[in-house]
Amino acid sequence: MSQTPYPYDPTHRHDHLHSSHCGLCRIELDHISVIAQGETLLQDVNLHLHCGQLTALVGPNGAGKTTLVKALLSQIPHTGTVRHMDDQERVLRSVRTGYVPQQLPFDKQMPVTVTDFLAASLTRRPVWLGVSKRTRQEVQSALSLAQAEHLQNRMLGQLSGGELQRVLLAMALTPTPDLLILDEPVSGVDQNGLALFLDTVDQLKRKHHLAILLISHDWALVRQYADEMVLINKTVLCEGAPETVFACDTFREAFPAAAKEVE
């Protein structure tokens, strides 16, 4: 999988915001396998992540969810390919991936503002020289995507869990990715904040036709927000609409308690 190098190219983003139909466009994971230190972590994963759809990735602990995310981010070596196909069945150049990590362990005392943090990922100009007016505007429009404009002058270490998640979402969305990965956006955020966060994600999905991969074990949320659901354990065990997967035998086996609950 090739990744477009940052800092971002504004024209790419512009194209994306105005591409109106991409119901057929998708990210294809083709025969993805990961073997590390002689142990098979993922075996022959085939998946289509469609634009404009939120796909929930579920699986028991150690099933390889994190490994799959790392493979998608090119952080670990894998076999197989990841392709970005458009609605004309053409292969596009690369897959741009935005990633919102589960947690962001960092030094809370670090004198870094939200603007510094985003500007550092958007420009080459070092933020210790100050942030230019133009970059400030870019940062603001990035934050507005995640409804977090009001946070721009706050120190990163003083944000609440939910606020930090919004800032991370803003970063993941700038430049606009083809694929947005949300890694268990549950931890550290209250239920109310989480619904608000996923509402924002849902709106973005409709507006920008993003393909979204959500790792979550909150079944109520998955049922409410996911268009597709995939159960994996080393390989894909069951996929389809959430209701279909909830009814799968493999799902009942993996999550007996949850299967009762969703019934």
């Binding site: 962001l104 670090m110 004198p111 503002t113 510094d116 933020v127 991370l168 970063m171």
Partner: protein
């Protein structure tokens, strides 16, 4: 050089700056302290104070090796040795094993011991003991020129590296997901710190170099609320300490490096106080 001296004479009509060694020392401090202060902001953010300390101590071994090889100018060997040492510590820390403070401590002790072994064995220890405290008053115009070039190159690299390094310092996994080659960036940083430390060590001294790197940045961090403020306050504190230290120590006949570091330490104490006052006012 004479031109620069004339400008300095016009700008600094004080008795102690009549001597050219004072002018040289002042110029050297103006070159040295800002770069160390800027690198220090990241060293503090990345909790690398102990790492740079070990690096400074290893300069003794660097000098020892230079003497063994029979070189009259040990600067090149110092820089090379420092870079290798820094890469080695970083590599061992990355691949795990013992905790990083243990590894660093091993390297720190080994560096000092190796240096002492060679220098004491060759019987030239007294000749090189000045490296412990440094002697900025002995700096020559050629040395200053070298420092100036080093400062320019160092700043340029710092400009290129900083944003990537900042994201890596906040969270390496996130930085990686943004396409940043975090490993290369981290090695770039430790090499830059190693070069800056080794070039400064003759003038500031093994015992004091780390203070110059860490203290201004640590003091600035107490009161800064953004990356730009951190860098700015750190540079101001280091320049202030540098100039004050020089002006105070020479008339008293004490070590310049020690006076500079003491000034920075006073700044650190003041910054703690100021941070407290700011916090109380914010809460009110």
């Amino acid at each position: 050089m004479q031109g620069i001296y004339n400008v300095m004479d016009a700008l600094l009509p004080f008795a102690i700056f009549r001597y050219s060694f004072m002018k040289n020392a002042l110029l050297a401090l103006l070159f040295l302290t800002p770069l160390l202060a800027l690198l220090g902001t990241m060293a503090v953010n990345k909790r690398m104070a102990f790492f740079s300390d070990a690096l400074g101590h290893s300069a003794l071994a660097g000098v020892g090796i230079g003497v063994l090889l029979g070189l009259s100018n040990v600067t090149v060997i110092l820089v090379l040795f420092g870079v290798c040492w820094a890469i080695l510590i970083t590599r061992i820390n990355r691949t795990g094993g013992s905790s990083s403070d243990t590894t660093i401590s091993v390297f720190s002790s080994a560096g000092i011991a190796l240096g002492l072994l060679i220098l004491s064995g060759s019987g030239k220890y007294n000749r090189y003991s000045s490296i412990l405290v440094g002697d900025i008053l002995a700096i020559t115009p050629t040395d200053i020129l070298c420092l100036g070039i080093a400062l320019a190159v160092g700043l340029a690299l710092w400009v290129l590296l900083y944003n990537k390094l900042l994201l890596t310092a906040i969270n390496p996994q996130l930085a990686q997901s943004r396409g940043i080659p975090t490993k290369a960036v981290e090695y770039g940083f430790v090499i830059l710190v190693a070069v800056a430390v080794m070039l400064s060590i003759r003038w500031v001294g093994v015992l004091l170099i780390n203070a110059l790197l860490i203290l201004p940045a640590a003091a600035a961090r107490n009161i800064a609320r953004s990356a730009a403020q951190h860098a700015l306050y750190s540079v101001i504190i280091s320049l202030l300490s540098g100039i004050t230290g020089l002006c105070v120590s020479v008339p008293l006949g004490t070590s310049v490096g020690a006076a500079v570091v003491l000034c920075a330490a006073v700044c650190y104490a003041l910054s703690l106080l100021l941070a407290r006052i700011l916090r109380v006012r914010l809460q009110a």
